[in-house]
């Protein structure tokens, strides 16, 4: 890969590209600290699927876990999420700048065409 654009993190994107996984992440974000069984009661898929999604999200650094008694609680890693949001916003801003430049060039070319045209 070349560094022509701001490179997004593959692991992170594939972690949140899955709609079910985004559902799980949404729940963790909106409820703070939650357990896998709490999550399983709120999503339309199995407890095993929830565990798989949690592993993927944890691997991407988007959530972390801690033990509380017998329970394992998951919470969102705000910095990592913020970093992802910023990386994406940066890519969008890069295209906004390019589009603005295209607009300037095309409108200048159009003005020139009009001036050349006999009235």
């Amino acid at each position: 890969m070349t560094a022509m654009t701001v490179q997004a993190d593959d692991e992170l994107w594939s972690a949140i590209a899955d709609p079910s996984r985004r559902g799980v992440l949404d729940l963790v974000v909106s409820h703070g600290e939650v357990s896998a069984s709490w999550l399983a009661g709120r999503v339309p898929f199995s407890r095993q699927a929830v565990s798989k999604h949690l592993v993927a999200l944890e691997r991407a650094g988007l959530i972390s876990r801690r033990k509380q008694g017998r329970e394992v609680l998951y919470q969102v890693e705000a910095d990592r999420l913020d970093q992802a949001a910023r990386a994406m916003a940066q890519l969008a801003a890069q295209w906004d700048r390019r589009l603005a430049a295209i607009k300037r060039l095309a409108e200048a070319a159009q003005a020139e065409n009009k001036n050349r045209r006999p009235s």
Binding site: S14, I16, L25, D82
Partner: protein, 144 residues
Amino acid sequence: MIEREILIEAPAEVVWSTITEPGQMSQWFASRVDLVVEPGAHGYLEFGDQGGPVVVEVVDPPRRFSFRWNHPRGEEPAAGNSMLVEFTLTPEGEERTRLRVTESGHELTAWPEAEKQRYADEHQEGWVEYLDRLAAVLGKRQPG
């Protein structure tokens, strides 16, 4: 996927020349553009001291232009190893054009085929919007 658009006070043909002529491209895109705008054509984009190959996909004047880039050196660009940039031009009246650009592939690199297909089949809210929304929820929940 990144999706942005802009309204330009010029006919689609003029906007088309701006986005596809190498001389013009070097003014809004790369510092040097070595490219023939034909379907399947391989070219090179230079950005200061960096650069990389680009492969043209669709050339449908003055409506659609797309290319792939950011694929690993020595590989043919395809879905899964590169970013696809697509320009769509929509005339709005005689002298005005809506220009839309999408860049996709950030989320698809290094993905199994089946998952890619499933992803492509499902309508997705934009990445920027999704992440912004999560960050906003997070901001509200954790004051300060």
